[in-house]
C-alpha cells in the first residue's frame, strides 16, 4: 500500500501533470486565469488577495526547502520558532482566502454560472490540504526540520527516479495524507484552473511596452537582391 501511494502515485501524478500541461498548452485557447472579477469584484478582493499571498508564500517555503535543504539544516532555536509561526500564519491566510473564495463561488449567482466541476474539486482539495497542513504544523513541531530530514530526501529520491519510501513510511498518517493529496493536486493541475500559475507573466517586467508583430521582416521583404528563401519571419518587436 505504501509503495503504491508513495512510490507509484507520484510518478502517475507527475506524468499526468507533464503530459496534461503540454496538451493544454498546445491547445492554447483554454489557458487562462478564468478571472470572474468582471462579474463580482467586492468579495473577490480580500478573498483572492488572502488566498494568493498565503499559498504563494507556503508554496515557496516548501520549494526552497526542497531545492536547497542545506540552507536550512543549521537553523535552530528561536529562528525555528519564527519560521513555524510564519508558516502557520500564511497557511491560515491561504485557508481563509480559499474558504472565502469557495463561499463566493457557491453563493454568488453570477460566479456560479462560470463554475465547473473541476473548480469545486480542486478548491475542496486545496481546503483539505490547508487544514491538514496547518494541523501538522501545530501538532508535529519543528516541521521545518523533519521536512528536511524525512520528506525532502523522499522527494529527492522520487525526482532522481530511485524512489526510497523509508523516510515517509515512518511519518505520522496525517503527514502521509498531506503528501498524497499534494501529488493528487499536482496531477490534477492541467485539468483545472490552476494552470494559470504556470504562465505567471514575469516576462512582462523585461518586455518593452509596445509590441509590434510583422508577418515578414519589413526591411528585407522588398529587397530584390535577396533570395526568397532567405526572407525569414521575424522575431516580433
Amino acid at each position: 500500500m505504501n509503495l503504491l501511494l508513495f512510490g507509484a502515485l507520484p510518478y502517475m501524478a507527475l506524468a499526468l501533470f507533464i503530459a496534461g500541461t503540454i496538451y493544454r498548452y498546445k491547445t492554447g485557447f483554454k489557458y487562462s486565469s478564468l478571472s470572474s472579477q468582471l462579474l463580482e469584484t467586492d468579495r473577490l478582493f480580500s478573498a483572492s488577495l488572502a488566498f494568493h499571498i498565503g499559498i504563494i508564500t507556503i508554496f515557496l517555503g516548501h520549494l526552497v526547502g526542497f531545492l536547497a535543504p542545506s540552507l536550512f539544516i543549521p537553523i535552530g532555536g528561536s529562528s525555528l520558532v519564527i519560521i513555524e509561526i510564519i508558516g502557520i500564519m500564511f497557511g491560515v491566510l491561504a485557508l481563509i482566502g480559499m474558504v472565502l473564495l469557495f463561499y463566493r463561488r457557491v453563493t454568488n449567482d453570477r460566479v456560479k454560472t462560470v463554475t465547473n466541476k473541476m473548480d469545486i474539486v480542486i478548491e475542496i482539495l486545496l481546503m483539505i490540504q490547508f487544514v491538514i497542513g496547518i494541523f501538522i504544523a501545530i501538532d508535529m513541531h519543528w516541521g521545518s526540520q523533519w521536512y528536511l530530514s524525512n520528506m525532502v530526501p523522499y522527494l529527492h529520491s522520487i525526482f532522481l527516479f530511485q524512489p526510497d519510501i523509508s523516510g515517509i513510511s515512518v511519518m505520522k498518517p496525517l503527514a502521509q495524507v498531506h503528501v498524497v493529496i499534494a501529488f493528487l493536486i499536482i496531477g490534477l493541475i492541467p485539468f483545472t484552473r490552476l494552470v494559470h500559475f504556470l504562465v505567471a507573466p514575469f516576462h512582462y517586467i523585461l518586455r518593452p511596452f509596445q509590441v509590434v508583430r510583422w508577418y515578414w521582416n519589413p526591411k528585407t521583404i522588398n529587397d530584390i537582391n535577396r533570395q526568397w528563401q532567405d526572407v525569414k519571419r521575424p522575431k516580433n518587436n
Partner: protein, 516 residues
C-alpha cells in the same frame, strides 16, 4: 525616419444620424456570442451624456490611459509593470459588468405557452449571465437621445470646467441640442492596452497598425480593460479572454470596408492609410498637453514627399500601400484641410480615429436676458424660456459659433484637449464651407462674403470644393481607400491556407470554449 503605415479613420459627426446600424452590423458579425453579449466593439453615444460604460471618460474612476510624470515621461495610469503585477490577483480599477450593464433577454416563450387567464401574459426579462429573472437597470444605449435627462447629460464628464452659467445655457438647449458620437477602437499609435498586457498577447500589426489580442496567448489578467482609456477592450466572462474591435481585419486584408463602415447609413465613415514616423511615437505621446494635438499631426507624414516615399520603401511598405496613402481621404481631412480631431488626445495613446466636429443642430444663440424689456419678438425665431432668450435669427454666423450651441469649451474638452481656439477654427471651417456652398448653389450670399469666409480659415476654393465633395458626394471608393494585403504575403500571414481549409481562416482553429 521609420515610416510605418496605419489604417486610420475619420467619422464626420455632422452626418451621423444615430441609427446604430454600425453597432448592429458589428454585433451580428463579431459579438453575438455567450460572454460577449455585453460587448459593443462599436457603439454610438448621445452627447452630452455619460456613454458606455457609464462615465468611461472619467479616468479618476477608471484609471485608463497614460499620464505624464513630472520628469516629462509617460506612465500608465492604472496599470503598468509594477502596478499591473501587484494588482494581478485583484484589479481595483477594473470596471464590473454593472458599469456596462447586465446582458438580458426576455422569456418570449411565456407569451405563447402561458395558460389562458384574464391577464395578458408577459415576457419577463432574464439575465443572460445567470438565466434568472432580473430588473433591468441599464442597457447598451439607454442614454440614447436622452440628453435632457438629469441622469445622463448632466453627469457628462466633459462638463468639468464649464461654468454653471455655461452648463445652464446648454440645458436650455436641451430639447434639441445633442449629437451622436460613434466609437470604435482607435487602433492607437501608442496603445495603452498593448503596454499593459502582462502576457504580451496584445499587439499592433506592423503592416497596417491594427491592434489585436492574440486569443491563444491571452490569459485573462484583464489589465487591458483598465488601461484602455476608451474602454474598448472587453473581458469575455465566459471564455476568460479579452476581446476588442479588430477593425474587421479579414475584410480590410481583402480590400473591403469594415462592417460598421460599410453599413453606415449616413456615410459618415472614412477609412484610409496614413504614414507615420515611428521614431517619434514616444516624443509625441509625452508632449505637453497643449502641444499634444499639434505634435500628433506632425507624426503623420506627407505621402507625396519623395523623401517619405523613399523611407517608406526602405521600410518594406508596399507600393500599393503608399499609393493608397496618397489617395487617403483621412490624410485630406486630417492633414490637408485640418478639420478632423482625435477624441480625448489627453489620454496620450495617439489615437487614429478622427472626428469632424458637428456643427449642429441649428445656429442659435442663448442669452440671459430680462424679459420685461423685450420688445415685440419674432414668434418663430425667438422665444423665451424662463429668463433665457433663445434666438435663431442671426446675421453674423461666425460670431455665433463662439457664443452659442454647445459651449465651445464643451466641444474642446472632447476633441481638442480643452483648446477652444483650435475647436473654433474647425467649426469656422465647417461654417465657411457652408457659406461657400450657399453662395454657389443658392446665391443669396455674395461672393465677397464667401471669399472672406474661406480666407479667414485659410481654405482655397479647391479645398472647399474638395471638402464639400468628400463630405457629401463621395462614393464608396473615395471614402474607403484600403490597400488589400498582398496575396503572395497574405498566404503566409496566418498559416498555410491549405491547413486552414474549412475553418474561419483566421489563424485560429480551435473552438473557442472555456477552459476547465
Amino acid at each position: 525616419m521609420n515610416v510605418r503605415a496605419q489604417m486610420s479613420m475619420v467619422f464626420h459627426l455632422d452626418k451621423c444620424l444615430g441609427c446604430h446600424t454600425c453597432t448592429v452590423a458589428c454585433k451580428n458579425i463579431w459579438t453575438d456570442r455567450k460572454g460577449a453579449e455585453y460587448m459593443w466593439w462599436n457603439n454610438v453615444e448621445t452627447k452630452p451624456g455619460t456613454g458606455y460604460p457609464t462615465k468611461w471618460e472619467d479616468q479618476e474612476i477608471y484609471k485608463g490611459g497614460w499620464e505624464r510624470t513630472k520628469s516629462g515621461k509617460i506612465k500608465l495610469r492604472g496599470a503598468g509593470k509594477l502596478k499591473g503585477l501587484m494588482n494581478i490577483f485583484h484589479n481595483p480599477n477594473l470596471p464590473v459588468i454593472d458599469d456596462y450593464y447586465e446582458p438580458f433577454t426576455y422569456k418570449y416563450l411565456d407569451l405563447i405557452e402561458a395558460p389562458q387567464t384574464d391577464e395578458q401574459p408577459t415576457a419577463r426579462p432574464i439575465s443572460l449571465i445567470t438565466g434568472k429573472p432580473i430588473d433591468i437597470k441599464m442597457g447598451p444605449n439607454w442614454d440614447d437621445d436622452l440628453s435632457g435627462t438629469p441622469d445622463f447629460a448632466r453627469k457628462d464628464v466633459n462638463l468639468k470646467n464649464l461654468t454653471p452659467a455655461e452648463q445652464e445655457a446648454m440645458f436650455q438647449l436641451e430639447q434639441m441640442a445633442f449629437y451622436y458620437l460613434p466609437r470604435i477602437c482607435n487602433h492607437c499609435i501608442n496603445p495603452a492596452c498593448v503596454a499593459s498586457c502582462p502576457s504580451g498577447a496584445i499587439y499592433k500589426r506592423g503592416e497596417d497598425g491594427v491592434v489585436l489580442i492574440d486569443q491563444s496567448v491571452c490569459r485573462g489578467w484583464r489589465m487591458c480593460i483598465t488601461a484602455c482609456p476608451y474602454k474598448k477592450a472587453y473581458y469575455n466572462w465566459n471564455t476568460g479572454k479579452s476581446e476588442k474591435c479588430l477593425l474587421c481585419y479579414p475584410r480590410i486584408e481583402s480590400g473591403q470596408a469594415p462592417a460598421c463602415m460599410h453599413s453606415c447609413v449616413g456615410r459618415i465613415r472614412y477609412l484610409g492609410t496614413l504614414l507615420y514616423d515611428a521614431d517619434k511615437i514616444e516624443e509625441v505621446a509625452s508632449s505637453e498637453e497643449k502641444d499634444l494635438i499639434a505634435n500628433q499631426m506632425d507624426i503623420y507624414l506627407d505621402p507625396n514627399d519623395p523623401e517619405v516615399i523613399k523611407a517608406a520603401k526602405a521600410n518594406g511598405i508596399a507600393d500599393s500601400t503608399i499609393k493608397a496613402a496618397q489617395k487617403s481621404p483621412i490624410y485630406k481631412f486630417v492633414k490637408e484641410w485640418k478639420i478632423a480631431l482625435p477624441l480625448h488626445a489627453e489620454f496620450r495613446t495617439v489615437p487614429n480615429l478622427f472626428y469632424v466636429p458637428p456643427l449642429l443642430p441649428v445656429m442659435a444663440s442663448v442669452t440671459q436676458n430680462n424679459k420685461s424689456d423685450g420688445s415685440e419678438l419674432n414668434p418663430i425665431s425667438k422665444h423665451w424660456s424662463d429668463e433665457w432668450l433663445y434666438d435663431t435669427s442671426i446675421d453674423e454666423i461666425f460670431g455665433t459659433i463662439e457664443q452659442a450651441r454647445f459651449p465651445i469649451k464643451y466641444m474642446a474638452n472632447l476633441f481638442s484637449v480643452g483648446d477652444t481656439e483650435l475647436m473654433t477654427e474647425k467649426l469656422k471651417k465647417l461654417m465657411a464651407i457652408r457659406i461657400y456652398r450657399r453662395y454657389k448653389t443658392v446665391g443669396d450670399i455674395s461672393k465677397e462674403k464667401s471669399d472672406r469666409a474661406l480666407a479667414e480659415v485659410n481654405l482655397s476654393e479647391e479645398d472647399a470644393e474638395g471638402l464639400y465633395r468628400l463630405t457629401s458626394l463621395a462614393k464608396f471608393d473615395e471614402r474607403f481607400v484600403i490597400p488589400a494585403a498582398h496575396r503572395e504575403q497574405a498566404i503566409e500571414m496566418a498559416e498555410s491556407t491549405a491547413d486552414v481549409k474549412g475553418s474561419a481562416g483566421m489563424g485560429f482553429r480551435e473552438t473557442p470554449v472555456r477552459g476547465l
